[in-house]
């Protein structure tokens, strides 16, 4: 959108609002009286999101309906990770949301990049891993251990897939 802030109807009086410094109360600039919330625009330095297909120019077919366009527009630098890289992707062949290459800076081939979450049309969530994650998130020590195992001590994405994505998820079970 490119606007510096946007008014929002709602939220006044909530504890959510009380704990945010990017949303404040402000009067309507036209009548000078009516109060509503004004939210500061988010301009992330970097956005990273995972999609079904991308081409080498950065055209993206998300594979599912997503808010990817607004996210890409807002962010200074956009990195897309994709299950599959194709030669040329046109909007009319996109599944779900299409993101044009002008909004995308980098494309990374990352099969199973959604793991342990699922990827629409490709593989479901890894429920066993999800349970481990939930258990690990209960305290800082357990979560530190989780990060060490699945993030810091992993050599590469291929190493992660090899070691942690269950074989049954890796079977080619493309569904519509």
């Amino acid at each position: 959108m490119g606007v510096p802030y946007i008014p929002v109807v709602g939220l006044v009086g909530t504890d959510l609002l009380a704990r945010r410094d990017d949303m404040v109360l402000a009067p309507d600039p036209f009548d000078g009286k009516t109060i509503s919330v004004v939210a500061r625009a988010m301009r992330p330095d970097v956005a990273v999101f995972h999609v079904d297909k991308a081409d080498r120019h950065g055209n993206v077919s998300c594979g599912y309906p997503a808010e990817a366009v607004i996210l890409a527009e807002a962010s200074q630098h956009v990195i897309v990770t994709a299950e599959e890289i194709v030669d040329r992707l046109e909007e009319k062949h996109a599944i779900g949301t299409f993101v044009p290459s002008i909004l995308v800076d980098s494309v990374v081939h990352a099969p199973f990049g959604s793991h342990p979450a699922g990827m629409t049309g490709r593989y479901g969530p890894d429920k066993v891993h999800m349970q481990q994650y939930v258990a690990a998130s209960r305290d800082d020590a357990a979560f530190g251990e989780y990060l060490r195992t699945y993030v810091f001590d992993v050599e590469s994405h291929a190493d992660y897939v090899e070691r942690f994505v269950p074989r049954e998820l890796q079977r080619p079970t493309r569904v519509a």
Partner: protein
């Protein structure tokens, strides 16, 4: 007190919710909302054939992104929304975020985010429902305000809470007094039982009506039209199969 009822609790709540739907309006509910989804589909078969329904994350939705839903609400196009919280208080505030007295160290966290606190101001009417009617769920003051029941006159607000529906009773939101008042008691319950299980003063000033029980027609359509429709369309199918229809 033992009374033979020909409906179960889920059916009662779905029927009561369906009666809130008006023909021609846009009526919606969020994710994980089996009871409102059932109520919306029932209303569409009964008094509201021209209602536009939005049941998020099911086939009954006109669009796919949350941005479209957000701005539909902001434009004031929602007539009715169904919301729930783990706690609801006397002033119509509800809590879908966290429990505990120290906000920095919650005892339990819930999936509450931004949507409820926004829509409460935007939908013309919001019906809050709670499947547990106890002193821990209906409280004098919620631990965390996710959505605010009332607001000062100079704050831009397009709509207000309308009702609170539980398995035992219905409350009406009194906008002037900014509080919930007991509206009707469901069949088989007494005012004493309501007082005993409600963590705030139910604001009773006179005799309280008994809720009109689900009618034969409402139950027939619920069981023979809405239930199969939910199963066929994958709209909380497993839940509908299990929860709707009285086992005798």
């Amino acid at each position: 007190m033992s009374v033979n009822l020909n409906y179960n609790e889920a059916e009662l709540m779905a029927v009561l919710m369906s009666r809130e739907v008006r023909d021609g309006e846009v009526s919606a509910c969020g994710a994980l909302s089996q009871l409102p989804a059932t109520g919306l589909l029932l209303a569409k078969e009964l008094q509201a054939p021209n209602a536009e329904l939005i049941i998020l994350n099911t086939v009954f939705r006109p669009f796919h992104t949350s941005r479209q839903f957000h701005f539909l609400a902001q434009r004031g196009e929602l007539g009715l929304f169904f919301a729930s919280g783990v706690q609801v208080d006397r002033h119509g505030n509800y809590n879908l975020h966290q429990l505990g007295t120290d906000p920095e160290r919650p005892e339990v966290r819930f999936p509450g985010g931004y949507g409820g606190g926004m829509i409460y101001y935007c939908a013309r009417r919001t019906v809050v429902f709670r499947t547990e009617h106890t002193r821990r769920s209906l409280v004098e003051r919620v631990d965390f305000i996710s959505a605010t029941g009332s607001s000062p006159a100079n704050v831009l607000r397009l709509g207000n809470p309308s009702k609170l529906i539980t398995p035992k009773a219905s409350f009406r939101f009194d906008k002037d007094a900014a509080c919930l008042r007991l509206d009707s008691i469901h069949p088989s319950y007494t005012l004493d039982e309501i007082r005993e299980n409600t963590g705030f003063d139910p604001g009773v000033t006179g005799p309280v009506a008994t809720t009109l029980a689900p009618t034969t027609e409402e139950l027939r359509v619920l069981r023979s039209v809405v239930r199969p429709k939910m199963i066929e369309t994958g709209t909380y199918a497993a839940w509908a199969e299990r929860a709707l229809g009285l086992r005798v």
